[in-house]
Amino acid sequence: MAFVNWLKRHLVVIAGLLTLGYLLLPNVVVTVFSFNNPKGRFNYEWQEFSTEAWRDPCGVSGLCGSLTLSLQIALWAMLGATLLGTMIAFALVRYRFRARSAVNSLIFLPMAMPEVVMAASLLTLFLNMGAQLGFWTILIAHIMFCLSFVVVAVKARVMSMDPRLEQAAQDLYAGPFQTFVRVTLPIAAPGIAAGALLAFALSFDDFIITNFNAGSTVTFPMFVWGSAQRGTPVQINVIGTAMFVIAVLLVLVSMAVGRRRNRQKA
Protein backbone atom coordinates (compact mmCIF):
# COMPACT_ATOMS: atom_id res chain seq x y z
CA MET A 1 0.00 0.00 0.00
CA ALA A 2 2.83 2.36 0.89
CA PHE A 3 4.43 1.51 -2.42
CA VAL A 4 1.21 2.25 -4.32
CA ASN A 5 0.96 5.62 -2.60
CA TRP A 6 4.58 6.39 -3.41
CA LEU A 7 3.95 5.40 -7.02
CA LYS A 8 0.88 7.62 -7.18
CA ARG A 9 2.73 10.62 -5.82
CA HIS A 10 5.65 10.24 -8.18
CA LEU A 11 3.76 9.05 -11.25
CA VAL A 12 4.57 12.18 -13.28
CA VAL A 13 8.25 12.05 -12.41
CA ILE A 14 8.50 8.35 -13.28
CA ALA A 15 6.65 8.77 -16.57
CA GLY A 16 8.76 11.82 -17.45
CA LEU A 17 12.00 10.02 -16.72
CA LEU A 18 10.87 7.02 -18.79
CA THR A 19 10.25 9.36 -21.74
CA LEU A 20 13.68 10.88 -21.22
CA GLY A 21 15.10 7.36 -21.33
CA TYR A 22 13.25 6.72 -24.60
CA LEU A 23 14.81 9.90 -26.02
CA LEU A 24 18.32 8.98 -24.92
CA LEU A 25 18.29 5.24 -25.62
CA PRO A 26 19.47 5.57 -29.27
CA ASN A 27 22.34 7.80 -28.15
CA VAL A 28 23.41 5.12 -25.67
CA VAL A 29 23.26 2.50 -28.42
CA VAL A 30 25.24 4.74 -30.81
CA THR A 31 27.93 5.23 -28.15
CA VAL A 32 28.17 1.54 -27.24
CA PHE A 33 28.31 0.45 -30.89
CA SER A 34 31.09 2.94 -31.62
CA PHE A 35 33.27 0.44 -29.71
CA ASN A 36 32.06 -2.54 -31.72
CA ASN A 37 34.10 -4.60 -34.13
CA PRO A 38 31.45 -5.84 -36.58
CA LYS A 39 32.06 -8.98 -38.66
CA GLY A 40 29.89 -8.04 -41.65
CA ARG A 41 29.18 -4.80 -43.51
CA PHE A 42 26.52 -3.65 -41.06
CA ASN A 43 27.08 -2.47 -37.50
CA TYR A 44 23.75 -3.55 -36.00
CA GLU A 45 24.85 -6.55 -33.90
CA TRP A 46 27.32 -6.56 -31.05
CA GLN A 47 30.42 -8.63 -31.77
CA GLU A 48 33.44 -7.60 -29.73
CA PHE A 49 35.00 -4.57 -28.04
CA SER A 50 37.40 -2.51 -30.10
CA THR A 51 38.70 1.07 -30.07
CA GLU A 52 39.92 0.87 -33.63
CA ALA A 53 37.28 3.19 -35.10
CA TRP A 54 38.03 5.83 -32.46
CA ARG A 55 41.74 5.77 -33.35
CA ASP A 56 41.03 6.34 -37.05
CA PRO A 57 37.71 8.18 -37.51
CA CYS A 58 38.59 9.15 -41.09
CA GLY A 59 39.49 5.58 -42.03
CA VAL A 60 36.46 5.20 -44.30
CA SER A 61 36.74 6.78 -47.72
CA GLY A 62 34.41 9.70 -48.23
CA LEU A 63 33.30 10.06 -44.62
CA CYS A 64 35.46 12.96 -43.49
CA GLY A 65 35.10 14.68 -46.87
CA SER A 66 31.32 14.65 -46.47
CA LEU A 67 31.68 15.88 -42.89
CA THR A 68 33.83 18.84 -44.00
CA LEU A 69 31.36 19.65 -46.76
CA SER A 70 28.43 19.59 -44.32
CA LEU A 71 30.30 21.86 -41.90
CA GLN A 72 31.07 24.31 -44.70
CA ILE A 73 27.49 24.37 -45.93
CA ALA A 74 26.14 24.73 -42.39
CA LEU A 75 28.50 27.64 -41.73
CA TRP A 76 27.54 29.55 -44.89
CA ALA A 77 23.85 28.73 -44.45
CA MET A 78 24.06 29.99 -40.88
CA LEU A 79 25.70 33.27 -41.96
CA GLY A 80 23.27 33.83 -44.83
CA ALA A 81 20.11 32.93 -42.93
CA THR A 82 21.15 34.87 -39.82
CA LEU A 83 21.90 38.04 -41.82
CA LEU A 84 18.71 37.94 -43.90
CA GLY A 85 16.56 36.72 -41.00
CA THR A 86 17.77 39.36 -38.53
CA MET A 87 17.02 42.13 -41.03
CA ILE A 88 13.48 40.79 -41.55
CA ALA A 89 12.94 40.42 -37.79
CA PHE A 90 13.96 44.03 -37.13
CA ALA A 91 11.71 45.30 -39.91
CA LEU A 92 8.75 43.30 -38.56
CA VAL A 93 9.13 44.39 -34.95
CA ARG A 94 10.24 47.99 -35.39
CA TYR A 95 8.22 49.30 -38.30
CA ARG A 96 4.59 49.56 -39.28
CA PHE A 97 4.20 49.06 -43.01
CA ARG A 98 1.73 47.74 -45.50
CA ALA A 99 1.57 43.99 -46.21
CA ARG A 100 2.88 43.10 -42.77
CA SER A 101 0.51 40.18 -42.42
CA ALA A 102 1.39 38.93 -45.91
CA VAL A 103 5.06 39.01 -44.93
CA ASN A 104 4.26 37.17 -41.71
CA SER A 105 2.52 34.35 -43.53
CA LEU A 106 5.33 34.07 -46.09
CA ILE A 107 7.70 33.59 -43.14
CA PHE A 108 5.39 31.08 -41.43
CA LEU A 109 4.66 28.87 -44.46
CA PRO A 110 8.12 27.24 -44.87
CA MET A 111 7.90 26.03 -41.26
CA ALA A 112 4.38 24.67 -41.80
CA MET A 113 5.10 22.69 -44.93
CA PRO A 114 6.40 19.13 -45.01
CA GLU A 115 10.04 19.11 -46.05
CA VAL A 116 9.42 16.71 -48.90
CA VAL A 117 7.05 19.21 -50.57
CA MET A 118 9.58 22.05 -50.34
CA ALA A 119 12.34 19.75 -51.54
CA ALA A 120 10.35 18.52 -54.53
CA SER A 121 9.13 21.96 -55.60
CA LEU A 122 12.62 23.44 -55.35
CA LEU A 123 13.90 20.60 -57.51
CA THR A 124 11.30 21.37 -60.20
CA LEU A 125 12.51 24.99 -60.19
CA PHE A 126 16.16 23.97 -60.54
CA LEU A 127 15.31 21.46 -63.28
CA ASN A 128 13.32 24.09 -65.16
CA MET A 129 16.18 26.57 -64.89
CA GLY A 130 18.64 23.91 -65.92
CA ALA A 131 20.74 24.60 -62.81
CA GLN A 132 23.69 22.36 -62.02
CA LEU A 133 22.80 20.51 -58.78
CA GLY A 134 25.52 20.60 -56.14
CA PHE A 135 27.07 22.86 -53.49
CA TRP A 136 25.22 26.02 -54.58
CA THR A 137 21.77 24.48 -54.89
CA ILE A 138 22.19 22.87 -51.44
CA LEU A 139 23.27 26.20 -49.94
CA ILE A 140 20.36 28.08 -51.55
CA ALA A 141 17.90 25.50 -50.19
CA HIS A 142 19.38 25.54 -46.69
CA ILE A 143 19.32 29.34 -46.42
CA MET A 144 15.68 29.20 -47.56
CA PHE A 145 14.43 26.81 -44.87
CA CYS A 146 16.62 28.18 -42.04
CA LEU A 147 15.50 31.76 -42.66
CA SER A 148 12.09 31.49 -40.96
CA PHE A 149 13.53 29.91 -37.83
CA VAL A 150 16.05 32.75 -37.46
CA VAL A 151 13.27 35.34 -37.91
CA VAL A 152 11.22 33.71 -35.12
CA ALA A 153 14.17 33.51 -32.71
CA VAL A 154 15.34 37.11 -33.29
CA LYS A 155 11.80 38.50 -33.30
CA ALA A 156 11.10 37.05 -29.85
CA ARG A 157 14.16 38.78 -28.42
CA VAL A 158 13.70 42.16 -30.15
CA MET A 159 10.04 42.24 -29.15
CA SER A 160 10.90 42.07 -25.44
CA MET A 161 13.37 44.94 -25.82
CA ASP A 162 12.54 48.37 -24.41
CA PRO A 163 12.59 50.94 -27.26
CA ARG A 164 13.25 53.68 -24.70
CA LEU A 165 16.83 52.43 -24.37
CA GLU A 166 17.46 53.50 -27.95
CA GLN A 167 15.71 56.81 -27.39
CA ALA A 168 17.95 57.35 -24.38
CA ALA A 169 21.02 56.70 -26.52
CA GLN A 170 19.81 59.22 -29.06
CA ASP A 171 19.13 61.76 -26.34
CA LEU A 172 22.75 61.31 -25.35
CA TYR A 173 23.74 62.33 -28.89
CA ALA A 174 24.58 58.87 -30.21
CA GLY A 175 24.17 58.71 -34.00
CA PRO A 176 21.87 56.07 -35.52
CA PHE A 177 24.85 53.84 -36.33
CA GLN A 178 26.37 54.24 -32.87
CA THR A 179 22.99 53.50 -31.25
CA PHE A 180 22.62 50.34 -33.30
CA VAL A 181 26.12 49.00 -32.63
CA ARG A 182 26.41 49.99 -28.95
CA VAL A 183 22.82 49.51 -27.74
CA THR A 184 20.54 47.60 -30.09
CA LEU A 185 22.90 44.88 -31.26
CA PRO A 186 24.22 43.83 -27.81
CA ILE A 187 20.68 43.50 -26.46
CA ALA A 188 19.49 41.52 -29.50
CA ALA A 189 22.64 39.36 -29.49
CA PRO A 190 21.29 36.35 -27.52
CA GLY A 191 18.33 36.08 -29.91
CA ILE A 192 20.59 36.35 -32.94
CA ALA A 193 22.95 33.75 -31.43
CA ALA A 194 20.06 31.36 -30.75
CA GLY A 195 18.80 31.80 -34.32
CA ALA A 196 22.28 31.24 -35.74
CA LEU A 197 22.82 28.10 -33.66
CA LEU A 198 19.44 26.74 -34.74
CA ALA A 199 20.23 27.46 -38.40
CA PHE A 200 23.60 25.71 -38.10
CA ALA A 201 22.07 22.62 -36.49
CA LEU A 202 19.15 22.46 -38.96
CA SER A 203 21.42 22.81 -41.97
CA PHE A 204 24.00 20.33 -40.70
CA ASP A 205 21.38 17.67 -39.99
CA ASP A 206 19.13 18.18 -43.01
CA PHE A 207 18.63 15.14 -45.16
CA ILE A 208 15.31 15.36 -47.02
CA ILE A 209 15.82 18.70 -48.80
CA THR A 210 19.47 17.94 -49.48
CA ASN A 211 18.60 14.51 -50.87
CA PHE A 212 16.49 16.16 -53.59
CA ASN A 213 18.76 19.05 -54.46
CA ALA A 214 22.30 17.73 -54.07
CA GLY A 215 22.80 15.95 -57.38
CA SER A 216 25.84 13.74 -56.88
CA THR A 217 27.27 15.86 -54.05
CA VAL A 218 27.46 13.92 -50.77
CA THR A 219 26.89 15.69 -47.44
CA PHE A 220 27.32 13.89 -44.11
CA PRO A 221 23.61 12.92 -43.70
CA MET A 222 23.66 11.66 -47.29
CA PHE A 223 26.76 9.61 -46.54
CA VAL A 224 24.93 8.03 -43.59
CA TRP A 225 21.89 7.35 -45.80
CA GLY A 226 24.05 5.71 -48.45
CA SER A 227 25.81 3.59 -45.85
CA ALA A 228 22.44 2.40 -44.53
CA GLN A 229 21.97 0.69 -47.90
CA ARG A 230 25.53 -0.48 -48.55
CA GLY A 231 26.99 -1.12 -45.09
CA THR A 232 27.47 1.10 -42.05
CA PRO A 233 31.06 1.67 -40.91
CA VAL A 234 31.65 1.96 -37.15
CA GLN A 235 33.16 5.40 -37.76
CA ILE A 236 29.65 6.80 -38.26
CA ASN A 237 28.85 5.93 -34.64
CA VAL A 238 32.13 7.51 -33.56
CA ILE A 239 31.20 10.81 -35.25
CA GLY A 240 27.67 10.61 -33.78
CA THR A 241 29.00 10.03 -30.26
CA ALA A 242 31.57 12.80 -30.61
CA MET A 243 28.90 15.28 -31.76
CA PHE A 244 26.70 14.45 -28.77
CA VAL A 245 29.57 14.78 -26.29
CA ILE A 246 30.81 18.05 -27.82
CA ALA A 247 27.29 19.53 -27.71
CA VAL A 248 26.80 18.63 -24.03
CA LEU A 249 30.25 19.96 -23.12
CA LEU A 250 29.68 23.24 -24.97
CA VAL A 251 26.39 23.82 -23.17
CA LEU A 252 27.90 22.97 -19.77
CA VAL A 253 30.84 25.33 -20.38
CA SER A 254 28.56 28.16 -21.52
CA MET A 255 26.41 27.64 -18.43
CA ALA A 256 29.46 27.73 -16.15
CA VAL A 257 30.77 30.89 -17.82
CA GLY A 258 27.34 32.54 -17.54
CA ARG A 259 27.08 31.66 -13.86
CA ARG A 260 30.55 33.05 -13.17
CA ARG A 261 29.79 36.27 -15.01
CA ASN A 262 26.57 36.70 -13.05
CA ARG A 263 28.44 36.20 -9.81
CA GLN A 264 31.06 38.81 -10.78
CA LYS A 265 28.31 41.29 -11.56
CA ALA A 266 26.62 40.76 -8.24
Partner: protein, 307 residues
Protein backbone atom coordinates in the same frame (compact mmCIF):
# COMPACT_ATOMS: atom_id res chain seq x y z
CA UNK B 1 18.70 26.61 -22.96
CA UNK B 2 21.02 28.66 -20.84
CA UNK B 3 21.62 32.14 -22.11
CA UNK B 4 25.18 33.21 -21.65
CA UNK B 5 24.56 36.93 -21.34
CA UNK B 6 21.48 38.09 -19.54
CA UNK B 7 20.34 41.63 -20.26
CA UNK B 8 19.61 43.78 -17.19
CA UNK B 9 15.96 43.70 -16.16
CA UNK B 10 13.98 46.20 -18.16
CA UNK B 11 10.97 48.24 -17.30
CA UNK B 12 7.93 47.06 -19.27
CA UNK B 13 7.92 48.64 -22.70
CA UNK B 14 5.25 51.27 -23.21
CA UNK B 15 2.24 50.07 -25.14
CA UNK B 16 1.25 51.46 -28.49
CA UNK B 17 3.03 52.35 -31.67
CA UNK B 18 6.75 51.65 -31.95
CA UNK B 19 8.89 54.78 -32.14
CA UNK B 20 8.86 56.53 -35.48
CA UNK B 21 12.06 56.16 -37.42
CA UNK B 22 13.53 58.21 -40.19
CA UNK B 23 12.99 57.03 -43.73
CA UNK B 24 9.80 55.45 -44.98
CA UNK B 25 11.84 53.06 -47.09
CA UNK B 26 13.97 51.57 -44.32
CA UNK B 27 11.62 48.63 -43.53
CA UNK B 28 11.33 47.72 -47.18
CA UNK B 29 15.10 47.82 -47.63
CA UNK B 30 15.50 45.56 -44.57
CA UNK B 31 12.90 43.13 -45.87
CA UNK B 32 13.94 43.07 -49.50
CA UNK B 33 16.85 40.59 -49.59
CA UNK B 34 15.25 37.97 -47.30
CA UNK B 35 11.82 38.19 -48.89
CA UNK B 36 13.31 38.01 -52.36
CA UNK B 37 15.03 34.80 -51.29
CA UNK B 38 11.77 33.32 -50.00
CA UNK B 39 9.79 34.39 -53.07
CA UNK B 40 12.34 33.03 -55.56
CA UNK B 41 13.25 29.81 -53.74
CA UNK B 42 10.04 29.03 -51.85
CA UNK B 43 6.96 30.60 -53.48
CA UNK B 44 8.07 30.44 -57.10
CA UNK B 45 8.98 26.71 -56.85
CA UNK B 46 5.46 25.94 -55.65
CA UNK B 47 4.11 27.62 -58.80
CA UNK B 48 6.61 25.72 -60.95
CA UNK B 49 5.49 22.52 -59.31
CA UNK B 50 1.86 23.31 -60.02
CA UNK B 51 2.72 23.79 -63.67
CA UNK B 52 4.81 20.59 -63.76
CA UNK B 53 1.89 18.60 -62.39
CA UNK B 54 -0.27 19.42 -65.43
CA UNK B 55 2.42 18.72 -68.00
CA UNK B 56 2.73 15.69 -70.23
CA UNK B 57 5.68 14.40 -72.19
CA UNK B 58 8.79 12.39 -71.50
CA UNK B 59 12.29 13.01 -70.23
CA UNK B 60 13.77 12.55 -73.72
CA UNK B 61 11.33 14.70 -75.67
CA UNK B 62 10.69 17.30 -73.01
CA UNK B 63 7.55 18.29 -71.16
CA UNK B 64 4.76 20.61 -72.19
CA UNK B 65 1.88 22.15 -70.26
CA UNK B 66 -1.22 20.38 -71.57
CA UNK B 67 -3.52 20.94 -68.57
CA UNK B 68 -3.58 17.21 -68.13
CA UNK B 69 -5.46 17.09 -64.81
CA UNK B 70 -5.93 13.34 -65.13
CA UNK B 71 -2.46 12.99 -63.59
CA UNK B 72 -4.01 14.00 -60.27
CA UNK B 73 -6.75 11.41 -60.61
CA UNK B 74 -4.30 8.67 -61.63
CA UNK B 75 -1.93 9.54 -58.79
CA UNK B 76 -4.73 9.51 -56.23
CA UNK B 77 -6.31 6.28 -57.41
CA UNK B 78 -2.96 4.51 -57.50
CA UNK B 79 -1.41 5.85 -54.30
CA UNK B 80 -4.36 6.47 -51.96
CA UNK B 81 -3.24 3.64 -49.62
CA UNK B 82 0.06 5.47 -49.07
CA UNK B 83 -1.83 8.71 -48.34
CA UNK B 84 -4.11 7.02 -45.82
CA UNK B 85 -1.13 5.27 -44.25
CA UNK B 86 0.81 8.54 -43.93
CA UNK B 87 -2.05 10.23 -42.11
CA UNK B 88 -2.64 7.20 -39.87
CA UNK B 89 1.03 6.78 -38.95
CA UNK B 90 1.54 10.51 -38.40
CA UNK B 91 -1.62 10.75 -36.28
CA UNK B 92 -0.60 7.74 -34.14
CA UNK B 93 2.88 9.18 -33.67
CA UNK B 94 1.39 12.56 -32.71
CA UNK B 95 -0.91 11.02 -30.09
CA UNK B 96 1.98 8.95 -28.70
CA UNK B 97 4.20 12.04 -28.61
CA UNK B 98 1.54 13.90 -26.64
CA UNK B 99 1.08 11.03 -24.16
CA UNK B 100 4.83 10.56 -23.71
CA UNK B 101 5.86 14.19 -23.98
CA UNK B 102 3.37 15.71 -21.55
CA UNK B 103 4.78 14.08 -18.39
CA UNK B 104 8.31 15.01 -19.44
CA UNK B 105 7.36 18.65 -20.12
CA UNK B 106 5.44 18.72 -16.81
CA UNK B 107 8.43 17.26 -14.99
CA UNK B 108 10.77 19.91 -16.40
CA UNK B 109 8.36 22.77 -15.73
CA UNK B 110 7.21 21.94 -12.18
CA UNK B 111 9.13 19.09 -10.57
CA UNK B 112 12.72 19.20 -11.81
CA UNK B 113 14.02 21.89 -9.41
CA UNK B 114 17.76 22.23 -9.78
CA UNK B 115 17.84 19.40 -12.33
CA UNK B 116 15.83 21.47 -14.80
CA UNK B 117 18.79 22.69 -16.87
CA UNK B 118 20.35 19.24 -17.04
CA UNK B 119 17.12 17.57 -18.23
CA UNK B 120 16.65 20.38 -20.76
CA UNK B 121 20.16 19.73 -22.12
CA UNK B 122 19.42 16.01 -22.36
CA UNK B 123 16.27 16.74 -24.38
CA UNK B 124 18.06 19.00 -26.85
CA UNK B 125 21.52 17.40 -27.07
CA UNK B 126 20.48 14.30 -29.10
CA UNK B 127 19.68 16.77 -31.92
CA UNK B 128 23.40 17.13 -32.45
CA UNK B 129 23.84 13.48 -33.33
CA UNK B 130 22.55 13.21 -36.89
CA UNK B 131 18.94 11.97 -36.78
CA UNK B 132 19.76 9.36 -39.43
CA UNK B 133 22.38 7.78 -37.14
CA UNK B 134 19.90 7.75 -34.26
CA UNK B 135 17.18 6.25 -36.45
CA UNK B 136 19.59 3.52 -37.54
CA UNK B 137 20.20 2.79 -33.85
CA UNK B 138 16.55 1.70 -33.63
CA UNK B 139 17.45 -1.15 -35.99
CA UNK B 140 19.72 -2.45 -33.24
CA UNK B 141 17.19 -1.80 -30.46
CA UNK B 142 14.30 -3.52 -32.27
CA UNK B 143 16.42 -6.27 -33.79
CA UNK B 144 14.86 -9.69 -34.34
CA UNK B 145 15.48 -11.83 -31.27
CA UNK B 146 16.88 -8.83 -29.41
CA UNK B 147 16.00 -8.01 -25.77
CA UNK B 148 13.12 -5.63 -26.63
CA UNK B 149 11.42 -8.05 -29.00
CA UNK B 150 12.12 -10.91 -26.56
CA UNK B 151 10.49 -9.03 -23.67
CA UNK B 152 7.45 -8.06 -25.76
CA UNK B 153 7.11 -11.66 -26.87
CA UNK B 154 7.36 -13.00 -23.32
CA UNK B 155 4.66 -10.56 -22.18
CA UNK B 156 2.48 -11.72 -25.10
CA UNK B 157 2.32 -8.15 -26.37
CA UNK B 158 3.40 -9.32 -29.81
CA UNK B 159 0.38 -11.64 -30.03
CA UNK B 160 -1.92 -8.67 -29.54
CA UNK B 161 -0.06 -6.34 -31.89
CA UNK B 162 0.15 -9.05 -34.54
CA UNK B 163 -3.60 -9.58 -34.23
CA UNK B 164 -4.07 -5.83 -34.71
CA UNK B 165 -1.81 -5.93 -37.76
CA UNK B 166 0.83 -3.70 -36.20
CA UNK B 167 3.52 -6.38 -36.19
CA UNK B 168 4.11 -9.55 -38.16
CA UNK B 169 5.04 -12.88 -36.59
CA UNK B 170 7.72 -12.49 -33.94
CA UNK B 171 9.40 -9.47 -35.47
CA UNK B 172 8.94 -5.75 -34.95
CA UNK B 173 11.36 -4.39 -37.55
CA UNK B 174 9.81 -3.85 -41.00
CA UNK B 175 6.33 -3.51 -39.48
CA UNK B 176 4.05 -0.49 -38.90
CA UNK B 177 4.90 -0.57 -35.18
CA UNK B 178 8.58 0.06 -35.90
CA UNK B 179 7.78 2.97 -38.24
CA UNK B 180 5.43 4.62 -35.73
CA UNK B 181 8.01 4.05 -32.98
CA UNK B 182 10.67 5.78 -35.10
CA UNK B 183 8.34 8.67 -36.01
CA UNK B 184 7.37 9.14 -32.36
CA UNK B 185 11.01 9.14 -31.32
CA UNK B 186 12.14 11.56 -34.02
CA UNK B 187 9.46 14.20 -33.43
CA UNK B 188 9.13 13.92 -29.63
CA UNK B 189 11.34 16.96 -28.88
CA UNK B 190 9.10 19.07 -31.14
CA UNK B 191 6.25 18.17 -28.80
CA UNK B 192 8.12 18.55 -25.51
CA UNK B 193 9.57 22.02 -26.13
CA UNK B 194 6.31 23.92 -26.94
CA UNK B 195 4.52 22.05 -24.13
CA UNK B 196 7.24 23.06 -21.70
CA UNK B 197 7.08 26.71 -22.86
CA UNK B 198 3.34 26.96 -22.25
CA UNK B 199 3.44 25.01 -18.95
CA UNK B 200 6.21 27.21 -17.65
CA UNK B 201 4.11 30.32 -18.22
CA UNK B 202 1.41 29.08 -15.83
CA UNK B 203 1.41 31.01 -12.58
CA UNK B 204 2.10 28.45 -9.79
CA UNK B 205 -0.29 30.43 -7.54
CA UNK B 206 -3.14 29.09 -9.68
CA UNK B 207 -2.22 25.59 -8.52
CA UNK B 208 -2.16 26.75 -4.91
CA UNK B 209 -5.52 28.42 -5.34
CA UNK B 210 -7.01 25.22 -6.78
CA UNK B 211 -5.52 23.33 -3.85
CA UNK B 212 -6.97 25.81 -1.36
CA UNK B 213 -10.38 25.28 -2.92
CA UNK B 214 -10.10 21.54 -2.17
CA UNK B 215 -9.49 20.45 -5.77
CA UNK B 216 -7.83 17.05 -5.99
CA UNK B 217 -4.60 16.95 -8.01
CA UNK B 218 -6.43 15.25 -10.89
CA UNK B 219 -9.13 17.96 -10.86
CA UNK B 220 -6.48 20.69 -10.79
CA UNK B 221 -4.86 19.12 -13.82
CA UNK B 222 -8.14 18.72 -15.69
CA UNK B 223 -9.56 22.15 -14.91
CA UNK B 224 -6.49 24.37 -14.57
CA UNK B 225 -3.22 23.00 -15.93
CA UNK B 226 -4.35 21.27 -19.09
CA UNK B 227 -6.62 24.08 -20.42
CA UNK B 228 -3.86 26.63 -19.80
CA UNK B 229 -1.37 24.46 -21.70
CA UNK B 230 -3.58 24.30 -24.81
CA UNK B 231 -1.40 26.65 -26.91
CA UNK B 232 1.50 24.26 -26.32
CA UNK B 233 -0.64 21.23 -27.14
CA UNK B 234 -1.81 22.81 -30.41
CA UNK B 235 1.60 23.96 -31.62
CA UNK B 236 3.22 20.72 -30.41
CA UNK B 237 0.76 18.52 -32.29
CA UNK B 238 1.21 20.62 -35.45
CA UNK B 239 5.01 20.53 -35.19
CA UNK B 240 4.80 16.72 -34.88
CA UNK B 241 2.02 15.90 -37.31
CA UNK B 242 3.09 18.00 -40.31
CA UNK B 243 6.68 16.78 -40.64
CA UNK B 244 5.67 13.21 -39.72
CA UNK B 245 3.17 13.05 -42.61
CA UNK B 246 5.83 13.96 -45.16
CA UNK B 247 8.61 11.88 -43.64
CA UNK B 248 10.05 8.99 -45.62
CA UNK B 249 13.21 8.27 -43.64
CA UNK B 250 11.57 6.22 -40.86
CA UNK B 251 9.39 4.26 -43.28
CA UNK B 252 12.46 3.50 -45.37
CA UNK B 253 14.93 2.57 -42.62
CA UNK B 254 12.60 0.81 -40.17
CA UNK B 255 9.76 -0.34 -42.42
CA UNK B 256 9.22 -2.48 -45.48
CA UNK B 257 7.47 -2.10 -48.84
CA UNK B 258 4.18 -2.61 -46.96
CA UNK B 259 4.76 0.48 -44.81
CA UNK B 260 5.60 2.95 -47.58
CA UNK B 261 4.28 6.44 -46.91
CA UNK B 262 3.48 9.15 -49.43
CA UNK B 263 6.92 10.70 -48.87
CA UNK B 264 8.54 7.48 -50.09
CA UNK B 265 6.43 7.56 -53.24
CA UNK B 266 7.27 11.22 -53.97
CA UNK B 267 10.95 10.51 -53.38
CA UNK B 268 11.11 7.53 -55.69
CA UNK B 269 8.96 9.16 -58.40
CA UNK B 270 11.23 12.20 -58.39
CA UNK B 271 14.65 10.66 -57.92
CA UNK B 272 14.39 7.13 -59.31
CA UNK B 273 11.48 6.77 -61.74
CA UNK B 274 11.84 10.38 -62.95
CA UNK B 275 8.11 10.75 -63.59
CA UNK B 276 8.01 14.45 -62.73
CA UNK B 277 4.32 15.21 -63.42
CA UNK B 278 3.08 12.40 -61.16
CA UNK B 279 5.60 13.32 -58.47
CA UNK B 280 4.59 16.98 -58.62
CA UNK B 281 0.89 16.07 -58.47
CA UNK B 282 1.47 13.82 -55.43
CA UNK B 283 3.43 16.50 -53.63
CA UNK B 284 0.74 19.07 -54.44
CA UNK B 285 -2.01 16.82 -53.09
CA UNK B 286 -0.01 16.26 -49.90
CA UNK B 287 0.46 20.01 -49.46
CA UNK B 288 -3.24 20.73 -50.03
CA UNK B 289 -4.33 17.92 -47.70
CA UNK B 290 -2.10 19.18 -44.90
CA UNK B 291 -3.17 22.80 -45.35
CA UNK B 292 -6.83 21.78 -45.13
CA UNK B 293 -6.33 19.54 -42.09
CA UNK B 294 -4.25 22.16 -40.27
CA UNK B 295 -6.74 24.95 -40.99
CA UNK B 296 -9.64 22.84 -39.71
CA UNK B 297 -7.68 21.82 -36.63
CA UNK B 298 -6.67 25.39 -35.77
CA UNK B 299 -10.28 26.57 -36.27
CA UNK B 300 -11.55 23.83 -34.01
CA UNK B 301 -9.00 24.34 -31.27
CA UNK B 302 -9.76 28.05 -31.30
CA UNK B 303 -6.21 29.37 -31.15
CA UNK B 304 -5.61 31.29 -34.33
CA UNK B 305 -2.84 33.52 -33.04
CA UNK B 306 -0.14 30.87 -33.17
CA UNK B 307 2.29 32.71 -35.36
Amino acid sequence: MATVTEAPPLAPAPEGKPPRRRGRWTPYLLLLPGLLWLVVFFALPVIYQASTSVQTGSLEEGYEVTWHFATYWDALSEYWPQFVRSVLYAASATVLCLLLGYPLAYLIAFRAGRWRNLIMILVIAPFFTSFLIRTLAWKTILADGGPVVGALDALHVLDVTAWLGWTAGDRVLATPLAVVCGLTYNFLPFMVLPLYTSLERIDPRLHEAANDLYARPSTTFRKVTFPLSMPGVVSGTLLTFIPATGDYVNADLLGSTDTRMVGNVIQSQFLRILDYPTAAALSFILMAAILIMVTLYIRKSGTEDLV
